[in-house]
Subunit: 410 residues, 4 copies
């Protein structure tokens, strides 16, 4: 792509040093008009400073877009994913993965609105995020030009970056001059940390890396109990109080934070081919997953539940790899959503020093039938004698196999 | 099956009241010779009293079989299952399920040895265990006769059982006269409890139900750290000390017990068709699973790991349903075992009030390559520019789809 | 179930000898009112004789239900199944399996309408059809009583059946006195044959067993060409002429029949546990499957198509086993239907002496893009240099594995 | 990669014009020593002319490697794949895909032997073969340098290629001067054709494209019958005559060719992201697949067979995409091979004008048990009354769901 081909680019802009450098680099290298997009996904930062900084760097007011995406993020991305009980490689709750498609989608919408021909993100060339951003871009605007500065420029060391910033009068906060000991990503669902001090997987995560949760050791000595209400697979209330999706997740985050819940130290497999070690804090999400499994346990049929469990790893892999807007993710979502019609009811949970425990569940749609299970006389639907026929027909093929073995002297 | 057809039956005999009643009922109803088999699977009970009781009930000494199966249980059943990271319905570690096939297999071996034509178990007609026992029986001896007293007799209440016991001079411990408030099953891997007081899934598990673990609240206020060494997917040492499979699991149980680890309150789907609520304590197994996932995280290839994750729910379902000796379980095991060749190394774990956390992992076979991941110049194998081609070809079909949508005006 | 418990039963009644015997047996054994249901699923038999026969056997006119289900059968059962490209055990097009749920559903609807408390079918105790009927019954009316005469009565030989018929003045066609050399089931989708002369799987199917197709050897010496149009995954026209679902399938059957298409000689695994040998003729369905795969090949995305292929065996198994009304079948259907939105276009096929070949496909929604594939200069979306990055990142984990092997001297 | 870095390269050399141009281009552009590797995979060409041509182009005699790989190809690649019944996208028998890993492996072995640091193939930059070659290279020699001329050079038209050949005194057969109307790949398993005249998927494949099979219309008017014997999943004899793997496949090819068997006109999804249209002729393989399914139908357990069917699409995708040497393919192979222990016996087939039909199967290990299936009195292992219990327990969850629906008024 010739650099002169780009006329107008929509940059995912945080207002921080790195994306400010990108902003200026786009202006100087591509000579194109830059449109900034700053989203509130619950990362816990003020957005107005990003506007000021963009203005300072020469962005026209009408080219500055700032949007609060928290409700959309939780309602249309986080919640659908939690309906699937998605965990990547058995453990990771996909907090970063699920945010990227939404940011990408918004950049494309702005590009269409302002007539931009290109989009740009600040993800590095070794990670998954570049893939997630760009697959979203390409799926939603197939002819878009994609600029990935970290794969293109020669600012390949901290020193060069700082030099570039100084040359271009980009303000540099004092603590940004040196290398960060690790890098983070945060949104309403989680905070992730990786790099530098975390790179030796044999070494403990240093305490100062954690920012979203207290140490279990420092959490209260008494358990906290709460209820979560679900409707059709989505959480709708805490302790009986109806809450919007983002408010609900924020509330769960608060509860998780103080009780030391949702820390994960993981070596995972990146889509781009290598292993990496990350540290994740997903306080509210960890509670939500347990609660969702809890309400499913009494409202979801076995056939549906087992099918969901079989499909889940594939679903999680698709989300992790950035295929949110791919037809196969949508197909799996259709199957999953179909199963959630009666996933409605209340789960009671206990939080205590890092533990989340489901201690009770109830639902008007419960499939749990005490009369079927009770070891008493008089149950009607379940006749113990049926078990014999059930077992014998299930055993038939195994008996035939056993006869063959005997016949063969094995 | 005419009752007179049975000549000699091998009974899975615990020495407790219920299987003693079965023993006597077999003698009186079937008029057949009874052979007892009592196994030590780590349930924590003396076995010699079972011998005395069997003698007392008229069993010939040569018809009494008592065997310590702990090492075989852990080595050939528990460990292969943990190579699969098997959890049923996302949570249950299959502690009861995995023990039944071994007991069934031993009964059949004894039946072949003593020339018995029948086997008998004490599982109820509403549960999974009858299926697990009988599928094992039929697979290993297709022509065996199976007696399942709880599906056959008319001793359908506690009162009738006690009456029968009194009639036949079966000793009755004082606390066995009334209904137990719940029933339990225990072995080296876990203790399960279900029934009665646990039957309302909205109600908390009463504290007195727990027997294998302390309350997290009562666990030590300071964390315990340990290392677990693996060889080819199996745990072989704790804190650098080599241990036999059963000894190792027992040691993990001790560590888990005091730290309040491995409690699970679950509503699950039984194979026989209804939901039931169970409470499980799997202290050592919970640690083992975390440790195994930890060592796999650095030694297992992504393709292998993701395939394992996709196959796991099916594997767990097969074990839960009692299909241990079915060809499809053996096929999955072959695939899983194939993946474990280099799952060797050391995991460091932190135990604290119910939490198990992997805090470090190392291996001579590690696939984690710091040089690939580091955000530094100079990495050789990974060229950031490759990422663009990777993304663009992965995006190609999504772009084609996007073009179609645009063409269609959607 | 006490026989006196049944007040009114809805019988799936063909009008043939066997179900007439069942009708009379219900009257004499259960002493209950019998309601007959006769459905036209395209089996190619007149339905009015069934009414006459029912009247003759003492059924009240208002208790005789006759319904033409052909359109509903193809539209709501056959077509959804073909969207999945469902084949059982790699070969069987599920012609019998897919008809049972619909018959069961109609029986239950009639039972609700006439206030019947029971339903009855004429399937044997060794086959799959009993399962398929009864799972449908139980799913749609959980408290229904099910009568399965072949599992209950003592008319266990042809002689006894004929005797019973004679005793009760049931007319017996001459050719029904002896044992049939095989049994058949027919509907608009297929004819199946099994039993007796087919039971030795080493022996050829005798020529007289075939009834729906000519021998390929006897088919025309020149190929027949046709086009099939699809809309959203369903066939809607042949040679450009719009046809209703049942009319379309009938037309394909005609074309298949004369060209010797759709014969299958198969040993399959029954759900009840044994293997059986069947002979199937599915002339139209065989063409339809080829055509559907043909139109999908240009309109379905790879990710969607591969997911469909992975889900298909499970879907086919569910249909075969009778779980049409189970939530997991509905979940899979939701996923499959989601994929069919753009499966629209025209396929051209060649039929010749047993062969169906797709020879052309076109669609306004085609994802096939000649410019991408052509080995010419100038393609834009596909840059060959991207392939290098694509391969190198896909190879990264394999290289890491290769390095480990080398390091280990393996 | 700097061109001067390459010292010695092993080229997959066919002796044809294109790879001769590559040979010369490597010498002139990379200035490196070229080692040629020419393999006989049953493509039906003499190999000695390749030696002469290599010598003519200046390759040292000790740098010319020619190997007959036919037996290894069929025994270690084709047969293992057929154990899986692998078909890609429901239809393609993977004839090209399965050959590439073996060629790649041999190139690497030669590179190790002669101390070469690079390998080179003649696959284009838009196809799957580049991926298959290079994934094999990288897996087996992680530090190898890979040269893919079609992605690198500027010989981007037929004219330029011919010019280059003329400049370098490369002999040019007359019919190679113009563009070929399509390109082909052939080996003992199949011949594929694609490109140019095949690129419009709405148009018939021209007759002159076919080279390995006669038109079904031109095949004999009488059927050919044969038997294929299997041992542990692999074909070992035809009509009772033991044959080596390659000889057996060649014999099946002869039989398939004259009977017009194994043509496939397909639009498929390439791994590199676009759809392409190919024409495949797999005469022997088509017979082999039918025969293998036939012998499995009586010797393979249902659980094993269904698991195989579920795993197959993933297996086929891995082979198609070039991941033969990936751990997940090896895991699946381990599972599949485990299932084949008793897949031994004889299948009788009928070949007639494009049709392959299994007409009989027998095995000393048959699981087909006529006594179980026969609709007669007296069967022992199968008691029809068991069916009731089997159905009722399988229905239990559906009834519970039905009750919920009723309760909810739905």
């Amino acid at each position: 792509m010739a650099k002169s081909d780009v006329k107008k680019v929509v940059l995912a802009y945080s207002g921080g040093l790195d994306t400010s450098i990108i902003l200026k680099w786009l202006q100087t290298t591509y000579g194109c008009e830059v449109v900034t997009f700053t989203a509130d996904l619950g990362q816990g930062e003020e957005l107005e400073p990003a506007r000021q900084k963009a203005l300072l760097l020469g962005i026209k007011p009408e080219n500055i877009f700032i949007e609060d995406l928290r409700e959309e993020f939780v309602r249309d991305y986080v919640f659908p994913m939690f309906r699937a009980n998605a965990v990547y490689e058995g453990q990771y709750l996909l907090g970063t993965s699920i945010a990227r498609p939404l940011i990408g989608k918004k950049q494309i919408e702005i590009a269409e609105k302002v007539g931009a021909d290109a989009v740009c993100h600040g993800a590095t060339g070794k990670g998954n995020d570049q893939v997630r951003f760009e697959l979203a871009y390409y799926a939603l605007k197939p002819d878009v030009k994609v600029i990935a500065p970290w794969r293109e420029w020669d600012l390949t060391s901290r020193t060069k970056l700082i030099e570039f910033a100084e040359q271009h009068q980009i303000p540099i906060a004092k603590d940004k001059r040196g290398e960060a000991p690790f890098s983070t990503d945060a949104n309403l669902l989680h905070t992730s940390s990786e790099g530098k001090v975390l790179e030796d997987p044999a070494q403990d995560v240093p305490d100062y890396v954690f920012s979203r949760t207290v140490n279990p050791e420092d959490a209260p000595n008494h358990a906290t109990f709460l209820t979560v209400d679900f409707e059709r697979g989505d959480a709708v209330a805490i302790d009986g109080v109806k809450l919007s999706p983002a408010t609900l997740l924020a509330k769960l985050n608060d509860l998780g934070r103080v009780n030391g819940i949702g820390r994960l130290d993981l070596v995972e497999n990146r889509y781009v081919g290598m292993k990496s070690r990350g540290m994740y804090e997903t306080p509210g999400g960890t509670i939500l997953l347990a609660a969702h499994r809890g309400i499913e346990s009494i409202t979801l049929d076995r056939g549906a539940g087992h099918l969901k469990d079989e499909l889940m790893p594939k679903y999680a892999e698709l989300v992790y790899n950035g295929f949110w807007f791919a037809p196969e993710r949508e197909m799996l979502q259709a199957a999953i959503d179909k199963s959630q019609e009666f996933v409605t009811g209340r789960v009671r949970l206990k939080l205590y020093k890092g533990n989340v425990t489901v201690v009770g569940r109830e639902s008007p749609y419960s499939l749990y039938d005490q009369e079927l299970v009770t070891f008493e006389e008089g149950a009607v639907a379940y006749d113990q004698h049926d078990a014999q026929g059930f077992i014998k027909l299930n055993a038939l093929r195994l008996r035939t196999l056993g006869q063959r073995k005997k016949r063969m002297g094995k």
